[in-house]
Subunit: 167 residues, 2 copies
């Protein structure tokens, strides 16, 4: 994790560590989305992934502004959680032949990614507020709102046509 023994001494350190974690995660997602766009068949799903890729690129930039506000260089720390989520998505997608079943699997994989981001942003926002950094909290909240909106759209797709076609 780039830290030596007991290197998180206070809440500022925990905040910075988790900021680096989500920064790494967002950058991994930017790399993973093009393959999900390519693998998806439903036009609405494909378009949803495309627009989320643009949002995610913007999330990376917003995080860079948070680093700047903290007087820190933007850098990631390895995040076994998002690596595991993306590995699992690739493994499952590799097992599916039928394009409608693959769409359902891709939606589930994308929602696992969204929920990871939602939980990390939730923690970061709570900590930023308690550290008196409303400026950072506001930027992080913008990312969180877009992740939640993306998750809601995926739920609507999961519950409507994509899954019905697959069943």
């Amino acid at each position: 994790m780039g830290f030596f023994s007991k290197d998180i001494k206070n809440m500022d350190d925990l905040f910075l560590h988790t900021l680096r974690d989500i920064y790494y995660a967002e950058k991994q997602i930017v790399q993973a989305l093009p393959e999900m766009i390519e693998k998806s068949s439903d036009p609405q799903l494909k378009q949803g992934f495309q627009s989320h890729l643009r949002e995610t690129e913007n999330h990376v930039k917003r995080l860079e502004r948070v680093f700047q506000l903290q007087g820190q260089d933007a850098k990631g720390v390895e995040c076994p959680a998002i690596d595991g989520i993306i590995d699992e998505a690739n493994e499952v997608a590799g097992e599916v032949e039928d394009k409608n079943v693959l769409d359902a699997a891709l939606i589930a994989a994308a929602q696992a990614v969204e929920h990871y981001e939602i939980t990390r942003y939730g923690s970061l926002i709570a900590w930023a507020k308690q550290l008196g950094r409303q400026d950072c909290a506001t930027l992080l909240q913008q990312n969180l709102d877009e992740e939640k909106a993306a998750d809601r759209k995926l739920t609507a797709m999961a519950e409507s046509n994509v899954n019905r076609k697959a069943a």
Copy 2:
């Protein structure tokens, strides 16, 4: 993942695969919670983890009933996502000395676990309904409701005393 090439042929296969994934995850969480109980200091947090351990043991049993309803033996598949989430929780916790900061880190780690379960149960319930398996959906919904309640309790703790003490 225990699957050979293109082994998920239809939605029933995807449902069963994901059921095995969450079954493995719930069992890993049963193993991880005692350490989180031991590491936590805040009495409310410690008690929350203890009561969630009992709930999680019950989730495993409910999943075994879903396997039974599907005419399948209960078994897990390796789940890189939950392994990554738990590894990351252990790594971060290992970096923290201050007990209040450690509590904040443990809450964040537990919320990452909850959100992983919330997303998997959400997908499974949508698929069970579309496959006409309301009996399975009802059992999975009971687990989901408890995960969501656990997450809400953790959010309330994150936003109140535990974090304030740490800052």
